[in-house]
């Protein structure tokens, strides 16, 4: 019945702040400052959340965006360029994609 609850209340976007380290292919170990889980969200919300994160984080900090919306996953690297930040990696897993972004260049 979780879908019924999601239908009435909406699935929440969760933004967690516990810093943790992940190893990114081609980048190495990176400390993730924030993790944004927006599974189920469709355009343009993942994009808007990305902008919000880039605004809130300090220069050099990394955040992770978890999305299952293919169109957003395609757009976010271009968006990150416009925001003068760096797209580190996009990792595919069973749920969707984890996109790692560092504020600044």
């Amino acid at each position: 019945m979780s879908w019924l609850k999601n239908f009435w209340r909406g699935r929440k976007v969760s933004i967690t702040q516990d810093r943790h380290w992940v190893e990114l292919p081609g980048v190495g170990m990176v400390q993730v400052a924030r993790s944004v889980d927006c599974l189920g969200a469709v355009c343009p919300r993942p994009q808007l959340l990305t902008m919000q994160m880039v605004e809130e984080l300090a220069e050099g900090e990394v955040f992770e965006l978890i999305s299952d919306n293919p169109t957003s996953v395609e757009t976010i690297p271009s968006l990150v360029m416009v925001l003068c930040s760096s797209h580190l990696a996009t990792v595919r897993d069973a749920e969707g994609w984890r996109i790692y972004i560092r504020k600044g260049m």
Partner: protein
């Protein structure tokens, strides 16, 4: 991508292509399409005309899914997030389609008809552009997203279908608000009584207003007769390529230049730096650029194939083939059905909605849209309708095989947005004579400047839609600590 991140897949790949469930499903869909095609051809080889729509639809669906080619994003993302990715992809498709369309026209196989130019194009584009911000996809975008398993997008298709069907046939309560000159002009058109063209706002709008307007390609307006000059120089170069180039330069200057120069650490850019910057903008999403190239080429080829088939069967419209095969139900009083011969989305969806309402006992043929122009064929014989189904299936196949297919149920908010936005898209599509494909993409590429007018309206609508959408999000997030979906 120039500020490269890597894309990695951490899900284990199993051996063999068919070992993956998604690939098996995709192969199954392909098999069903092949079997269905063979079955149709075994009944009557003339169904090849209908199957051309299916197969091109399938190719469009694959390219749309491959490039995540969301044309709603072409307008929305500029204003919402300042990203020109989709607008650039769209312009690439426009440029290529126009070149092939010119060749098809010179070859004598063009199926294109111009749209009447008037204020209704701006207004229709505006309403459509406002709607797509809320549905999260244009008419084609909703089809390919439905193929990815997005139930919200399926609701958008339902809303577009029924809203159009109701708008074009609905009652008379609204008629009093229309200019009496339109009613007089409609009455003077000497139309068959069963169409009752002086009743129903869409009939009065069509017969009393749109029919009095002119629609033409620029070559027709200028009266050029040489086919090469009128197709390549006037219609393609002047109407399509130069405006496309101007838009691309504008997109670069407004949205891309600053970030590019900063990234490339160029402080005093020369012309060559800007050229490299433009190239970087084109290739910032390779998938989108490839999809734009593919869609442009195949959209042109579809006109050529359908034009050649019309020549082969000596027909002007699929309605003639349907009557010859004994299917006279659902033809218009001119014995025609909707049969554009090129990529088009909204009219066939209106026919789906109209056909269902007719079966429920509503009289849907006493109007110009269905009764005179487009007919109301059984969905199983609706050739352009199969193009839409082809888009869904093509997108589903590719999404399954890339493991991107996922059933996604909408939240109530998304569902309401889908239905309200889809209804606005249906209304805008009928007032503006099509969606961003039929009224913009297919028109500007064939030398009809009215498509740019539609895009102008759609851009304003998109801008207003983004403003309204942001206001809604702010309102929601001020109510709750956490942003809800």
């Amino acid at each position: 991508m120039s500020n490269e991140g890597s894309a990695v897949d951490v899900v284990m790949k199993r051996e063999g292509w068919l070992a993956q469930a998604g690939n098996r499903y995709a192969a199954g869909i392909m098999g069903l399409i092949l079997l269905g095609s063979l079955w149709a051809l075994s009944i009557d080889t003339r169904y090849v005309y209908l199957l051309v729509y299916v197969w091109f639809g399938m190719v469009y669906g694959m390219f749309l899914q491959y490039g995540r080619f969301c044309m709603a994003a072409a307008v929305r993302d500029l204003f919402a997030v300042g990203v020109p990715r989709m607008a650039v992809g769209m312009m690439i498709a426009v440029a290529l389609y126009s070149l092939i369309a010119a060749t098809v026209t010179v070859g004598g196989f063009s199926t294109f008809h111009s749209n009447a130019l008037g204020w209704h194009i701006v207004l229709g584009g505006l309403i459509f552009g406002f709607g797509i911000v809320f549905t999260g996809g244009c008419a084609s975008g909703s089809l390919y997203k439905a193929g990815e398993g997005n139930v919200g997008s399926m609701l958008v298709i339902v809303a577009i279908s029924f809203s159009q069907a109701i708008f074009v046939s609905a009652g008379t309560w609204f008629d009093g608000l229309l200019p009496s000159a339109w009613i007089e002009s409609a009455a003077a058109k000497d139309m068959p009584a069963e169409l009752s063209v002086t009743q129903g706002w869409f009939d009065i709008f069509t017969a009393g207003y749109v029919w009095d307007l002119k629609g033409a390609t620029l070559a027709q307006i200028l009266g050029t007769t040489n086919p090469f000059v009128s197709s390549y120089l006037v219609n393609t170069l002047l109407v399509t390529l130069l405006p496309t180039l101007a838009i691309l330069v504008l997109l670069y200057a407004v949205y891309y230049k600053k970030g590019y120069l900063r990234r490339a650490k160029i402080s005093a850019p020369a012309l060559g730096d800007h050229a490299r910057g433009m190239w970087s903008m084109f290739t910032s999403s390779k998938n989108t650029a490839i999809a734009g190239i593919g869609l442009g080429i195949f959209a042109g080829l579809q006109m050529w194939v359908t034009g050649a088939l019309r020549e082969h069967y000596q027909i002007y419209n699929f309605g003639e083939l349907l009557s010859a095969m004994g299917h006279t139900d659902g033809l218009s009083i001119q014995e025609t059905v909707f049969d554009p011969g090129y990529w088009y989305i909204t009219t066939q969806e209106a026919q789906w909605g109209g056909w269902i309402l007719e079966k429920l006992g509503v009289n849907m043929t006493d109007n110009i849209f269905f009764g005179l122009d487009n007919g109301l064929p059984n969905p199983l014989l609706n050739a352009p309708g199969f193009m839409s189904i082809g888009i869904i299936l093509g997108a589903a196949m590719l999404a399954l095989s890339r493991r991107e297919f996922k059933w996604k149920l909408p939240s109530m908010e998304t569902a309401v947005f889908a239905l309200v936005g889809g209804t606005l898209m249906g209304l805008g599509a009928r007032i503006g004579m099509g969606c961003n494909i039929g009224a913009f993409f297919a028109t500007v590429t064939n030398g009809d400047p009215s498509g740019w007018v539609y895009l102008f309206g759609m851009t304003i609508g998109g801008y207003l839609g983004v403003k309204a959408f942001n206001m809604w999000i702010e309102r929601r997030s001020s109510q709750q600590d956490e942003c809800e979906l």
